[in-house]
Symmetry: D2
Subunit: 125 residues, 4 copies
């Protein structure tokens, strides 16, 4: 009962990296995805409403995403969906929609790229 | 009833590009994906058996994938799964497992990269 | 760029059905899904935090879900993920996480059932 | 790198159940799924080609699926995709496309049903 989800969209922010006290790198960014849907009335494909996600990466993926991605880039992300209620000190409440990324990269639908292999023995599959 | 599937794996071949008579670019490659599974007896994560897919890309994605990817590269692909029986002239029969890619890119779990935006007005979402 | 998601969980509410002015049946319920994750420290599988979704069904699926499902039932849902900001008259804001169901049914992992075919010519696939 | 896939389709065979020497129940059936696709030339939705899968269930899900499902039933299955080469004693080779089901049930898009909870303490999530 683990919800895996794959999202194609665009990075709506730069990638922010922190390192925990235990030395764990974590990177986060916002991802905007606008579904295309077929409109029965007009008989055309139109843009649906945009979904926004908080994407979180850990370890090597956090380091590599931080040094590779920038705001506005087209991105594919696959990972586990997490829906979390939150409440801040001011008593405000809300819901955060997060993807814990298992893998991510630039979407070649929108351009070309280069790649440098860094983690040959990575077991973070 | 469309089967979308997302696969993280490694390109097992170089990317082969053709152009149809009507000028449609199509690129194909083989993708190997080895699932990790938890072994109850040993209490450890082990490699499962490898799944092999034929990945097919069209239009801009075909052009960009061909100029960006190479054999051995770590790749994320998302698209529609197609399972097709085939029979050749010699009477041999088999089953082809194909992914019609909607999006694909290098998997940053394994390295870093650069990206050049080429298709700003692309509607191939 | 459409986010399809499949969730296995339990109906956290009864199924509520309305009919729009135009005669469109719509059913909704809350779905709770608790992922299992492998805890590296204890070496055991443990419950993660629960994800809550609003599930929405239309047309025949709305009618059939309403007459078949009840609070507490184990359910599989597949559909399109929609993340929507909302604001009520009191000025409160929040985020709704919705699945527009393409298909759903009882999860036979947890029991047995019977089935009566009603919509043989349905094109709502 | 585990390929989860969700398929909506129809059982193309009855459900066949075996029990291994160690007492493990295993059920299998064939599942046919016909994707709908939008045809650009005609401007209409049409049937694509049918995908056939071998679905395999274990333990409680195997028992419950066997006593609940029949040939022709509309089914939702979610599980892990396995693509396996095979060779029989006659030297013939082929490829099997299998889904190891995590969950499955009747698809309420096509009818109504009843449900009896049997495995309240199941940890087979």
């Amino acid at each position: 009962m683990s919800e895996t989800v794959t999202v194609r969209g665009f990075a709506g922010t730069d990638i922010r990296k922190i390192t925990t006290d235990k030395g764990l790198p974590i990177s986060t960014f916002r991802l905007a995805s606008t579904p295309r849907r077929f409109d029965r009335e007009s008989g055309e494909w139109v843009n649906g409403e945009t979904n926004w996600f908080n994407v979180t990466c850990f370890r090597n993926l956090a380091l590599n995403a931080h040094s590779t991605l920038a705001k506005g880039d087209p991105v594919i992300v696959t990972g586990r969906l997490k829906i979390r209620p939150w409440e801040n000190d001011a008593g405000q409440r809300g819901t955060a929609v997060e993807i814990d990324a298992d893998g991510l990269g630039h979407d070649l639908t929108f351009g070309t790229g280069s790649f440098t292999r860094l983690n040959p023995g990575s077991s973070e599959q």
